[in-house]
């Protein structure tokens, strides 16, 4: 990495190229500077800690979304999965010991993701359709199991999780630490692991992958299962933050996750995208919301601004590679 950077800097026009290549980081830095200038509350630890807590849930599912998008697929079910799995976790935490509840939720997430993976990889269903169907199924199941209303944690295990989710370690919210750990693992896997290499290869050219003897179906299956597992982790975190599991959680989160991945420069055709840029995408989206809140902009105009910034970010990426 360091070597690459040096090489790129020393090539003609290197600095400009670098800035374009890492434009999401640039946008992020600009937004931070801008936020710091217009609001004196922005750089307080309370605000930053809130910001990190807010983005962690969506951040975690965005990493799953990135992995799916890298293969050229998409996972629309993650938002509803968060709701279903948050309800599941709330039920479990009230009935079994905490470690079992956490592990069982993640296993169920893996299983739900596997359904999408099976439909896409082995039944050749279009990812958009398969996960769209699962999206409504998961949301429906969440309401059924929760009987329409949120399920509050009422055990010691639940209390422990609630404390964990709302506390910090060395000033960083615990749930943000979980998010960052997942980011680091994903970075390492995508860069140094065969799994990462192969899903990027598949996304950039599925025919060539198959003809190189890659088990294309296995990896397709796995990315959705991983996305489901990450939705489970996100569900545990968001449920713990609010001390309850509600079927209304994760509403439209799949769209925020897709937006974060796309702002991060990933191609919906697959094969292109990095974890660090997706992280920037998540933080950019979070920052926009945060600064608009600090400026007391009501929520409807916020949506307009958010959309406009997504368009701007993606337009900027068109300079890349030119």
């Amino acid at each position: 990495m360091a070597l690459n950077l040096k090489q790129e800097l020393s090539s003609p026009g290197g600095l400009v190229k670098l800035l374009i290549k890492y434009n999401t980081i640039l946008i992020f830095v600009l937004l931070v500077v801008f936020s710091a200038i217009i609001s004196d509350v922005f750089f307080t630890s309370v605000n930053l800690s809130n910001l990190l807590k807010q983005v962690s849930g969506i951040g975690i599912i965005s990493i799953g979304m990135l992995i799916v998008i890298l293969t050229g697929g998409i996972d629309l079910s993650v938002g509803s999965m968060v709701a279903l799995l948050a309800v599941t976790f709330a039920i479990l935490v009230n009935s079994v010991i905490l470690p079992v509840a956490i592990i069982a939720t993640i296993v169920i997430g893996f299983a739900l993701g596997s359904v999408a993976g099976y439909l896409v990889a082995f039944q050749k269903m279009a990812p958009f359709i398969a996960t769209l169907a699962l999206m409504t199924v998961a949301r429906g199941l969440a309401f059924i199991y929760a009987k329409g209303s949120p399920i509050t944690f009422n055990t010691a295990g639940g209390e422990f999780m609630s404390n964990f989710a709302n506390n910090s370690f060395l000033g960083i919210p615990n749930i943000a630490i979980v998010f960052f750990l997942i980011v680091i693992i994903a970075m390492v896997v995508l860069r140094y692991n065969v799994f990462g290499r192969l899903i990027i290869a598949m996304g950039s050219n599925e025919d060539a992958s198959r003809l190189s003897g890659i088990k294309v179906n296995k990896y397709k299956f796995l990315v959705y299962a991983i996305s489901g597992s990450l939705a489970a982790v996100a569900a545990v975190i968001v449920a713990s933050r609010t001390n309850l599991g509600s079927p209304n959680m994760g509403m439209a989160w799949e769209l925020d996750a897709i937006a974060a991945v796309v702002i991060g420069g990933a191609s919906l055709n697959g094969g292109k995208g990095t974890v660090i840029n997706t992280l920037m995408g998540v933080l950019i989206l979070g920052l926009i919301g945060n600064i608009l809140n600090l400026l007391n902009v009501p929520s409807y105009p916020q949506q307009v601004v958010k959309g406009a910034i997504i368009i701007f970010a993606v337009l900027l990426q068109r300079f890349e590679g030119k």
């Binding site: 290499r197 990027i200 290869a201 950039s204 050219n205 060539a208 992958s209 190189s212 890659i214």
Partner: protein, 507 residues
Amino acid sequence: MQNSNSEYRVEMTGISKSFGVVSVLENVNLKVRPGEIHALLGENGAGKSTLVKILSGVHQKDSGKVLLDGKEITPKNTHDGQVLGISVVYQELSLVNDLSVAENIYLHKLGASKFWMNWKELINDAQELIQSLGFDIDPKAIVRDLSIVQKQVVEIAKALSEDTKVLILDEPTTVFDPTDIQKLFNNLFRLKKEGISIIYISHHLEEIFKIADSITVLKDGVDTGSMPTSEIDTDGVIRLMIGRELKDLYPERTATIGSEPIFEVRNLSGKYNLVHDVSFSVRPGEVLGIAGLGGSGRTETAKLIFGEFAKKSGELILNGEKINTKSPVQAVGHQIGFVSEDRKEEGVFLPLSIRKNISVTSFDPISDKFGFINTDVEYENVQSLIKKLNIKTPSSEVDVKNLSGGNQQKVALAKWLSIDSEVILIDEPTRGVDVGAKVEIYNLINEVAEKGVGIIVISSDMPEIMGIADRILVMHEGTIYGELSKEEFSEENILRYSIGEPLKVTV
């Protein structure tokens, strides 16, 4: 033409063009008379495509002058070019897969003239145009369902659908078999008589000498000469193209061929294609050629062996043991490699680096049990392959899309050399590859054979297959019609078997 007295139809003088810091063309001249077939030659990356793209309006020149019938033109896009009467058939097909043949041919007119389309007229016109080219394709057929040869014909028909003054053909025959090539040539001669200027880009020097009136050679973005075809021979052209003598295109075969077959195919038939009862064997160190016309089932046979297509029946025997290849995964597991004829779609990963392309087949030896890659070993392996194959690149981190066709093909091959393949199937080893890289690829095939690998080469290029194979099987209508030993190699014999005729008996 009528309003000028210029000797030349096209006159490009002092053309220079660079992309960023890379200078592609420097002070290049190209002059083409009306009713002339003018060959544009040069290795891949010499700037031929860029030059014609400047003429047709895809690219804009940095400096120089372009005259059409003595008048300066500056086409800003391909539409401008078309209006001026400059039509191009590109190397990469540019058809819309989901539309019909007729719609594709008249795509530029659809929507331009009237609100409603006259389907009947459209289809009739398309039918006439295709028939005038001597081919038979249903104008209502959807392009997706056509063979690659038919697509190329549609592409040519599309180029001729307007009043064309200059027709540019970029490697038009790479997908054609000899009979189709002859048809294409007849058409070119007809168009030439009609006064159309034809700029013909090809790597096939035999073709050039058959049809071209004059030649312009480019080397590294500079034109090294223009002359009538009659004043130069193949060796002379090659000298101009690569700047050195090319004693022998096809290397001496040095591999010692084993006695027992390494790989055998018995009664192979496809479930969903025309391939039936194909049987043959290949010995270690042997280069087995498979010839035949387009559509005779050569590629399908290779893909059946490789597990890409479903088999109906048949046995594969590797090193005396029966193997099963239900998928490419299994084939690769048995150390069988396959290099596709369709490099860009099936061979390489264009947006990925050379390193990532090459290691995609060979993670097992360089990763631990959790799949973490030892990148130092990976770099070393890739570096040594880049060196061995003489892939021209500043580093292993360059994206494959930025390499020339020849170097891309080497990357596609490298993938199978990085693992110890026992059998390698190579479909069209040098399609769209320049002369210099061709020789390197032939040498490479030779070297790999020396290691005792069984190599099966499919090729439409007859001199090539005769030059590199030890034995040639000729396919006709889905099965092997005949086998030629080295003494029997000739274009005529291959062609006879290809069309299902016996060889002439010589007493």
